[in-house]
Point group: C2
DNA sequence: CTGTTAGCGCTTTCAC
DNA sequence: GTGAAAGCGCTAACAG
């Protein structure tokens, strides 16, 4: 770990400044000099010292991507899309960014901790993906930290979670504690500024709308006993999807509202086993169950497994639907009815936003549309008494 | 991006050196002073400048994890395990490492490029996961780069790929061009040194052995028309798995060897669609096909889908098996016969090795055992004429 | 077009 | 136990 800019300079018979200019390429240098320098670099196998250069230039090429679970394709797809926008992987010189993904495991401390690291590294941008945790204290801490990062010049993009709660008024000015969430459909709350005013841009997923359409689909097939296996209860995504579900019931079959709580099982995680356990629990609670909605596709797979293990056929006996439309859903048997989120597109857009290569939506908030994918796992409920 | 160590020092009424000592915690500081400093840090919301600190200390807390496809759970599981070993996520001070995953997309340029970035950042360690690319030129370039990194103090761990080819003798000393690969089962080639001599440690997966056992399983069920859908042909994993398959045939049913090439379809990627297309192609080529082996579980899912679309039942008409035992395999219907690789354990071990928290295996190379998981997707072939 | 001169913000001897 | 000072390797004005 020895060879420095100075060594290269000596070898090439030029000054360190010249070498620096050749390497960064953003400054006129004579052709001959350039070749000489390049040769010296080659011969010495010189590699720029990142920290030194970052310190001097006060910039960094790091872009952090925070995900809740890197082993879940939902995040993998988004992360991969973000990374795909970071630019052609040149051999070194250019302003290419390095997107690194950080796995928080859904832990709030871990999330904060990664943000600290990223802040230390003076990251160029940070993309936070997926569900946020609904915790008053964490939410405030997170918002503060993100605003501070943004103020320091780091671009912040929220992808797949709702926008930050409006800034806390430190000058306590009243007991106004209503409406903790900013309006969703109205894209003008930033009063026309290019972002929400603090440089943080949000790409929210229309979880509520998608979920609502999904439940409507089931309702119109004739289902009246619809179980729901939620995700972890403190997640924004969980809440939004459940809300969409309830909205559909309220609008189309209000008589079912009374049983809603009874028909809802709160899963502990977005994984297969909470689907499995949840389905079993629903079967126990709801005698005439004809359909099960799952928090996402992975959970839905667990639901299917449990149902099958109980000798139930899908969709003849029970319909099942997921959410997200991950690649495996189209291949499952039967093919899984779900709600498609254009994860790749959203991730790519988040990447562009992070690099400042795309102008932020008005108000700093855009909602990504979701689409119902009606497939083989949903059908009309079985006739009375099978 | 303003507040610096000096600001904190002023505020706390001490010198910058003292603040630094308090923050790094590895030096005796009076209790009172420490509290005073901490308070100043708190009040000023001070965050260490990573580049500056890395420059001065000539160390970094970055650990890079290179993966071929971040959207593939195979890599997600390994990466997540590596990350889980990086230590309790403290609030900042300690020597905690930041594991960042870099998605190469299987591209060799991208791989090299990420290594350059990591080298620039003076990464503490680099973990390369999964299949390497079998390309003479790239192999050499990669080996050189990794050795250089290792020489510079960066720990290198190969997880899920074969060890590096032995060092190129620059002093051309003979036409010795045999055995481009080091012995696998013999763990003593490093002559008892704690690693292969260059500080690079390898955790190879026993793909060949697992594949061999899988084919033996099919053979002993009575299958004689076994199709094989491979992964991308330039990958070490692809080659090893195919070799294991051929080995089993050679040992147990040499009469099938003649048709081996005919029964092998080379898939373009480790994805669902090459499984789908591969299965169709096999059906075309092999009239009495009774079993299909896939490069991995994801490919196997594609194979299943194709088979089903052709009206074939699994396993009654055709048996199918995958490789890796990803979580979804146990949930597929029918449950998928496959070969289990302890991905999480391997990743965790790679993480420990990367941090120097575990002593490297003798010779620097360890082979991770794989295990046959015989499940519902394989059964004896149908009787003659169905 | 190229060299000189200052730092960037932190860590770390070396004194006190 | 704490301070002063000397860089770490690079970039970015300024001069020439």
């Amino acid at each position: 770990m020895a060879v420095t800019l100075a060594d290269v300079a000596t070898r090439a018979g030029v000054s360190a400044a010249t070498v620096s200019r050749v390497l960064s390429g953003n400054y006129p240098v004579a052709g001959a000099t350039r070749t000489r320098v390049m040769r010296a670099v080659e011969e010495l196998q010189y590699v720029v010292n990142g920290p030194a250069s970052a310190l001097a230039a006060a910039t960094s090429d790091l872009v952090g991507v925070l995900v809740n679970d890197i082993a879940d394709p939902f995040f993998g797809i988004i992360a991969s899309a973000v990374q795909s926008e970071m630019g052609a992987v040149g051999q070194g010189g250019g302003g290419q960014k390095l997107a690194v993904v950080c796995n928080t495991g859904g832990s709030t401390e871990s999330e904060l901790s990664y943000l600290t690291h990223l802040q230390r590294q003076r990251a160029a941008a940070v993309v936070l993906t997926g569900s946020g945790v609904e915790d008053e204290k964490h939410g405030a801490a997170l918002a503060t930290r993100l605003r501070r990062l943004a103020a320091g010049g780091t671009r912040i993009v929220l992808c797949g979670r709702p926008p930050l709660a409006p800034e806390q008024q430190d000058t306590h000015q009243g007991p106004e504690r209503e409406q903790p969430r900013p309006p969703q459909e109205n894209g003008r709350d930033g009063e026309g500024r290019a972002d929400s005013g603090d440089g943080i841009v949000t790409l929210a997923f229309d979880n509520r709308g998608g979920s609502r359409r999904l439940t409507e689909h089931l309702l119109s097939l004739g289902h009246r006993s619809i179980g729901y296996v939620t995700g972890p209860s403190d997640r924004t995504t969980t809440r939004d999807r459940l809300e969409g579900h309830r909205l559909a019931i309220r609008a189309r079959a209000p008589e079912l509202l009374a049983d809603a709580e009874q028909f809802t099982v709160h899963g502990g995680a977005y994984d297969r086993s909470s689907g499995y356990d949840g389905a079993l629990e629903l079967l126990r609670r709801v005698p005439g169950l004809t359909a099960v909605l799952a928090a996402n596709d992975t959970v839905a797979l667990g639901v299917c497994a449990a149902l099958r293990d109980q000798g139930l056929r899908i969709p003849e006996d029970v319909s099942v639907a997921g959410f997200d439309d991950l690649p495996f859903s189209a291949d499952a048997s039967p093919t899984l009815t779900t709600v498609r989120i254009p994860l790749h597109d959203a991730g790519a857009r988040a990447g562009r936003l992070a690099l400042g290569r795309e102008t932020p939506p008005p108000g700093g908030v855009a909602t990504v549309r979701t689409e119902l994918m009606a497939r083989g796992s949903t059908a009309p409920p079985p006739g009375p008494r099978g």
